[in-house]
Amino acid sequence: MGIDLAQFHEAFFEESFEALESMEAALLKLDIGAPDAEVINTVFRVAHSIKGGAGMFNFADIASFTHTLETLLDGVRAGRTHLTTGVLDLLLKSVDVMRELLRAAQGKASFDPQRVADLQFDLEVAVAKNEPPTAGAPATEAAIEAAAPAAAPAEPHSPLWRISVKPLENMLSRGNEPLALFAALAEHGELRVQAFVDEVPALAAIDPHRCYLRWQLELRSGASEQQIAEAFEWVEGDCDYRITRAGSAAAPAAPAIPAPPPPARPAAKADAAPGASTGDAGSIRVSVGKIDELINTVGEVVITQSMLAQLGALVEGPSAERLRSGLAQLERNVRELHESVMRVRMLPIGFAFSRFPRLVRDVAQRLGKQIELKLTGEQTELDKTVLERIGDPLVHLVRNSIDHGIEKPEERLEAGKPPAGTVHLEAFHRGSAIIIEVSDDGRGLDCDKILAKARSRGLVGPAETPSEEAIFELIFLPGFSTADQATDLSGRGVGMDVVRRNIKSLGGKIDIRSARGRGSRFTISLPLTLAIVDGQSVCVGDETYIVPLVSIVESLQVKASGVNRLSNAGEVISFRGDYLPLLRLHELFGVEPRSRAVHDGLVVVVEGDGQRVGLFVDDLRGQQQVVIKSLETNYGQVPGVSGATILGDGSVALILDVPGLIRSTSRREAA
């Protein structure tokens, strides 16, 4: 079984040649004097999608070349590089070279490596030539920083005002403080402050009472120009200022914010894809970096809020109750704020779904199957990072459905089914999770075949008779599917184990349901956001750990008699009629506990990967939302730990990786 990788290549080539045609047409339309931003975007998208495909199929030459081309186009798009006849010429030559490269990759022609290298060099020169001199005086580089906390929440659609502020010599000495001015402005909305320090002289030459700084402010506010100008009344005569309303999102005066690359998809379909309306007047383009900065700040707010809540619980006296109710209100507001901010990072899953109609059609044709693809819930939004990383697992699952699930038309007719099979991709929200389901009405998973294969690979002993559910689980084992599927899309023999690993790395899980002859359903469940978890603090000795609330089943006290020691399988406790392995966190993490006697502490029953274990800890502390900080930025991965967080008192607590801990026990037991 398995399918030929070449058919995916073919789809890629076909799409790329089409896209190159539209790129060429677009380039020929371009007016050197006044290049149309939308046309440049189209050209950029073509380069980007070819790069993505080439990367996926390991066509290194094409990927490298298109990467350079994309960099140049990005410069043109952002206004760093001027579109001259020379540049246009380079772009047209690039189309030709890309055609050559694609044909060579198809094996239909050879290409001239020298010519490609020369052109790539020329492209690089063009990129470098128009890059602003970054090595300039560092003093003129001013950072854009968020100003004092904005008092008025700015509507996301509020207009953007640019205000340049240049104090006159005596502004400071007359007691007019720019900080106060900016604070007054920040009352109107969201203010960003950029300072220019290039006119500040050397210390020895400075007049300490004179102002040498200048500012460029960005205020997002629904206030009128007059209202904004009122803030300047106090400083009238001491400072020059200019208030301008920034034009539409694509205002040419906008600072060179690298726009997020559009999702890779064929340009030819760009207009049909959901959310592709780039001209939408009600939206602006914001760099992902800025959003992440905002998310970080909100994360800090969450930490401060939890610190205040801790303090608030300790306060006594007549005002204590009012303080606590205020703090509770703050907590609700912070939670809402966090949710709104995270929503900014959300994109409709339609971006990930849009590649499937083409893919399904092509694969079905190759395999001689009839398939109807149903897409539901394309507007369901999920985090950008999740979206980017869920694409490949989905391709794998859909491909599997078509390849292994759906039968040939004749076979289906014999089974009393319509000749065309259905593959259904569905996305929806359930609680705080996103569910994505890939289902088909094909033949379902063949338990006997899976079991036979697992036995032949030594994954299941000859005497074992696993349950149906356990058999389905087998296909996720490393080494189960890879050998047979060297024809995988990426050409690297990616199996279901990788699909599961990718989903897990996003904090999600995947389950299978299947009925012989009726079809299969793969259910992926993903967390809505990645940055914050609801956690239960537990302590072991002097250390505090956070257990994500979602994985906690129950916390209980266990009597000494409730613990049984099984020969070489460690300790177990009885819980709701089951025996669960008991994990002593202090042993696992090598810390000195308050007590080793189980009845002195608590057992937190946690669940992950469909398995339950009891975690033995000294005590429980409060529940709180915690901001996940990476340990990997400065340190590295830690087994059993998914990240760290900063507690209200400023100390660091580790967040437990429950599925990881459970895996480590099953390994221990197996050993």
């Binding site: 810390v591 400065n634 087994p639």
Partner: protein
């Protein structure tokens, strides 16, 4: 752009400033430009199953920074951590990007100008691993100062102990 430690070392100015600190009987030096911050000792959060020289992590203005005990790293006798114990927060650059980490030292002594010409190469002690993180030796006020190459000392392997440690543990 250039992240090659050898190249940056070679192209450095004739003199550069070095922050010296004391560990037991010895004086070490690090490039002052790599020093981010000097702070007092405060309790760290332990990292499970970390190498012995990693004491744990601290919150440094919102980012999580590992703290390395140089005494353990250099196999010196242990000292107590007290209120005068100092953490020097340093920045390393490696292929993996920029990382910050703190080292616990007995005390910061001084900042000295070091003439590149006065830096003596490290004597061959047989094992490359043992001296790989030393950029050279320099004599200051009749004391020998061991100049550390922190990129090599830590580099991308805070988690994994260097060869010498691994060997020491295995032995």
């Amino acid at each position: 752009m250039n992240t090659n430690p050898e190249k940056t070392a070679a192209t450095e100015a004739a003199t550069h400033q070095v922050l010296t600190f004391v560990l037991g009987e010895e004086t070490y030096g690090v490039d002052i430009l790599r020093v981010q911050e000097i702070r007092g000792w405060s309790a760290v959060t332990k990292i499970p199953n970390s190498p012995p020289h990693v004491l744990g992590v601290l919150n440094l203005r919102g980012s999580i920074v590992p703290i390395v005990d140089l005494r353990k790293r250099f196999n010196l006798a242990q000292a107590e951590y007290t209120a005068v114990t100092v953490i020097i927060v340093l920045t390393v650059r490696s292929e993996a990007g920029r990382r910050d980490f703190g080292v616990v030292v007995d005390g910061v002594s001084d900042v000295v100008d070091v003439d590149a010409a006065a830096v003596k190469p490290t004597p061959d002690l047989g094992s490359r691993a043992a001296t790989d993180h030393i950029r050279g030796l320099v004599s200051i006020a009749e004391r020998m100062v061991v100049l550390l190459d922190i990129d090599r000392l830590i580099g991308s392997q805070i988690v994994e102990p260097l060869e010498s440690d691994a060997a020491a543990q295995a032995a």
